[in-house]
Subunit: 470 residues, 2 copies
């Protein structure tokens, strides 16, 4: 029985997405154009993501800091590529109180400039290095078209910024953080990802190179889900971050930055959810279990609730005065991984019912079951099933081609990831945009090309994953 | 042996404060005028504050959300008192990308307007109430003079916003959150506070009344440290937050808001720290214990470290190649509550040394001591001692007077909290500003006046705490 409030995802994917977001009350539009309100259910997912990632960052030796949200234009301009990349999409503060400012300030779109300015003040010697910092904050990019979680003028993110004494160490850091993102996606969000290097055209403004985590949505559209940049000495030269190295020589430092955003909530929805509403992997679900009492069953309900709660499982009792059917539907819409229905009649037969959100299967269990181990192993099963389901779909939607006609056919009919070899020439890359905006997602660094360039037919340098993107 | 990098607090308190902040590397000025960089040691204190307060808020039924950081001028203007209060000190965004905006947007100085706008969309019936939300974010106020943590253009804070069906419930909420702040200050920050109601002149723009938590710094200057506002129906009428009540009648909702900020870090410093640097109560210290190895003692050091770590005590080993004396000094400057010195020579006599930061006492302990219970009970002792020391000083610097001449004498010589009765007339209140900016801190709601008004000599209505403020 489909939820009438939710458009079928196979009928109108964009409408389905908005319906799922709205039905679960994750976020809503505000009277501030292009900005959303993160409602409690949506913000709770972000808090859970933050707590897991923050621990991963700290375990890899990073510390949190906080930089100002406004950046003077002159400071922003010191690194030419960065300002060129961001100038068209920043918001400018030009007045403070009742005075026109001498210099306008932009609301941070990203904070390389501020971190670099700070680093130039505190880094003197190789003994001060490395500095490995991270910041949780919101950033602002003046986008024209917006979509909840995927693209909005303001969004929440983390941005890591590190300085190192050697190129080798900085490059290792960029790779390490790419792998942190990969683990987070696969182990917690249950989303399989492809990792690789961005082409020159698609890399971050100001980076030597950018590494990326790419995921595929249910409708075959790609989502860039986290990036890690190696800057070399570009910013350290622009902002004068120099230090005395171990051989007592002055040298410019090596930097990285890496970030992921609230668009990961959009990825969760577009990979796992269905026509009944939100589906969340248990490891990221703010609420993992709901207990629905039917009739006079409070003693059993409390017993199950206390047992789960004491085992650190996030559980709540839906004791509102709605009908059981309504409560089941609500739990589905909200993506609660496990629903326990405890009914008066069933309890007489010494059983109750457990429903899992991913498959919507219902199981009758013995009322004396060890509920903690039952729920824990069911959560693991759901987590694994969601990952496998997403991976199977992603693999089925990943195509290898050696000619543009086939690329076009795939994108027109059944889009997905397309693997095709490329000569490295930007003209060839750009020409593919004619196919519904097809772009390179990333270069597969550990794979050698087996064909010639899919566009020009000349010798290929790289295996590349292509796709249409959000 | 005083730290030469730190000015004595009895010689130049303002300089001492900056020296302590700088020496502990809590924050520093940036190239963004009036904004600071929160460095790792300073931000870690804020994270600890956040984690404790966030739990207190959730335990009292609040949920976190996130509203946009920009507010359209028209939305801001709906509540007249609020815009009058904040207009002189907001930053305005007037350009997005390369276009002039049709309507300018202010960077939030506080978010009553956005929350009210949101509430007006989602509140329909008394069944939707109460809504009890909180937001962690940064806000911007275009201050002219700034001081690290105490006053800066951008600062970090939390702002709670709630909507209720009845006046009684909303007023109870405002009081409850005032008490949460009071507990947080006294039980965690070890800072005794006075709570009370702000006068009409000093209340928050747009509030029916404001409740406040007031602390006294070492130099006798008062610091407003947290506020909780009852709005009645002021915002609900301006933003149309109406609902059908349980008697099926349309009614305007009742609201509160409450907040505390990173200035609490300033309070911690100015209440507890000394001429040797930062002093932190163990319950708020990000790092509670440092172990300093002297000589070849790694097996004992690791044993102590593991024991403390496994007991969830935040401990680190200072194994840099600096001299022990330098390390001791550094631990003092950084406010580490407990220092454990494990030396080769001492171990031969089966002892080692423990130093507490608050009193700087050193104790020799048996090397076989149960270190976890020793440290836990020492931390409790330090926490209690810091609170008692602060309370004793505060009490000694709290004066009761019945004439303006005495007020002036106190403020000129040895400032502190002054309790004096007041008729309730704003002219009397304002006239006291001539005494070095003396202002009312709060009305003591449970105490009746015993004298006439300290200024005009007419019948007094309130006992009031007065003080000079940051």
């Amino acid at each position: 029985m489909k939820n009438e409030a939710i458009t079928s995802r196979d009928v109108d994917f964009a409408k389905w997405y908005t319906d799922v977001v709205t039905a679960a009350r994750l976020c809503c539009y505000s009277n501030v154009k292009g900005c959303v309100v993160f409602e409690p259910a949506g913000y709770a997912i972000w808090e859970k993501m933050q707590s897991i990632l923050d621990k991963m960052f700290k375990d890899t030796g990073h510390q949190n800091v906080y930089m100002p949200m406004l950046i003077p234009e002159s400071l922003m301009k010191k690194e030419a590529e960065l300002i060129d990349g961001f100038a068209p999409e920043v918001a400018w503060v030009t007045r403070g109180g009742d005075k026109e400012l001498d210099e306008r300030l932009c609301v941070r779109p990203t904070s390389e400039t501020l971190f670099s300015d700070y680093f130039s003040n505190v880094v003197k010697s190789y003994r001060d290095l490395p500095l490995k910092y991270n910041q949780w904050c919101s950033v602002m990019r003046w986008e024209k078209t917006t979509r909840p979680f995927l693209r909005s003028r303001e969004f929440l993110w983390q941005e890591g910024h590190t300085v190192h004494a050697t190129q080798k160490e900085a490059e290792e850091e960029a790779r390490k953080m790419l792998n942190v993102y990969k683990s987070f996606f696969e182990d917690y969000l249950a989303i399989p990802v492809i990792t690789g290097r961005k082409t020159e055209k698609e890399k971050f403004a100001g980076a030597e190179y950018s590494l990326t985590v790419e995921a595929l949505m249910y409708n075959g559209v790609a989502l860039q889900s986290g990036t890690s940049h190696y800057f070399g000495q570009k910013f350290s030269k622009a902002y004068d971050i120099s230090f005395v190295n171990s051989e007592n020589k002055q040298e410019y430092a090596y930097q990285t930055s890496w970030g992921c955003t609230t668009r990961m909530i959009g990825a969760l929805i577009m990979v796992h959810s269905d026509d009944f509403g939100l589906v969340l992997p248990p490891k990221i679900a703010p609420k993992q279990v709901v207990i629905v009492p039917i009739g006079n069953v409070s003693s059993k309900v409390n017993q199950v609730y206390e047992a789960l709660k004491n085992a650190n499982i996030s559980v709540y009792i839906d004791d509102t005065n709605k009908s059981p059917g309504y409560k089941f539907k609500e739990a589905e819409v909200n993506g609660i991984p496990i629903r326990i229905e405890i009914g008066e009649r069933d309890l007489k037969n010494n059983v109750y019912t457990i429903a899992r959100r991913d498959t919507q299967d219902k199981m009758q269990v013995d009322a004396e079951v060890d509920i903690v181990s039952y729920v824990n192993s069911l959560m693991e099963e759901i987590q694994t099933n969601l990952y496998n389901r997403a991976k199977e779909r992603r693999d089925k939607m990943t195509y290898e081609v050696d000619n543009v006609a086939d690329m076009k056919k795939i994108i027109d009919n059944n889009p997905g990831f397309i693997i095709a070899d490329w000569c490295g020439n930007a003209d060839c890359e750009v020409s593919l945009k004619d196919i519904n905006g097809l772009k390179s997602r990333c270069i597969l660094e550990n794979e050698a090309p087996v064909h010639n360039c899919v566009v020009c037919g000349k010798e290929a340098k790289h295996r590349v994953v292509w796709g249409i993107q959000y």
